[in-house]
């Protein structure tokens, strides 16, 4: 059980897809792959979690760091495709209120184009 990530570039948006399990042992890998995408001022990043089966607080820590970094750098960070069990963890954390969430990659791209 692990995590894997793939990166695509769509016009001015980076689309990172994460699949598998995001926990204390795999969160360093997401940190390494996600945070550099937000380094440039004004960066737009879409994180697709449709294939992510599990998230713990260790994973939420990286997502919080990414959202803060995007805001500080005048960028945008949108998450999409949360499975119900992942969404439940986001809700318990109060993260659905402070993060930008979309149902699908298409909806997320629409948000970032706006």
């Amino acid at each position: 059980m692990a995590i894997s990530t793939t990166l695509e570039t769509l016009a001015d948006t980076s689309l990172l897809r994460a699949s598998g399990r995001l926990d204390g042992s795999t969160s360093p890998q997401l940190e390494k792959n996600l945070l550099p995408l937000l380094a440039e001022p004004g960066s737009k990043v879409l994180l697709d979690l449709a294939e992510l089966d599990y998230v713990s607080s260790a994973g939420l820590r990286i997502i919080l760091m990414a959202a803060k970094r995007a805001k500080q750098a005048g960028g945008r960070f949108v998450l999409c495709g949360l499975q119900p069990q992942v969404s439940e963890v986001f809700e318990m954390s109060g993260f659905t209120r402070i993060l930008e969430l979309a149902a699908s990659v298409d909806e997320g791209r629409g948000r970032l184009a706006g």
Partner: protein
Amino acid sequence: MVGDGAVTTSDDKVLEYRLNSDLAAIAGLAEAVTAFLAQTPRIAMQVNLCLDELLTNTILHGFAGASGHEIAVSLKLAGDWLEIVISDDAPAFDPFTEVAPPDLDAELDDRIPGGLGVHFVRSLMDDYRLVREDGRNRILLRKNLPV
């Protein structure tokens, strides 16, 4: 070296599992718990989240990230509830009194990481406490099951 895996028992109401104090060992426990609670997948997911959070705290803080310590986890189906015990030989630590609760209403700029794992346990379990016994931490959890 401590191995990971379920301890064989003849009782299908009990899961006894031993794991090494290594974050990478938690996924194997999660698979065993998912199989043990196959009739109630949503509860299995909630139990796995709580076990992951408490074990991650124990491994990173109790053992300072050092592998080689054995942690024992047991799940027991008893009527309409599930009893869980996590036992380790780390220094005494009570996550239910010593971890500050997160501010769930903070805005993004003010939100600080930390405290969420214990918050999940408080939210998802019906009872939770730490007992210090024979130089070991024993975390006792209880989850009511749907009738």
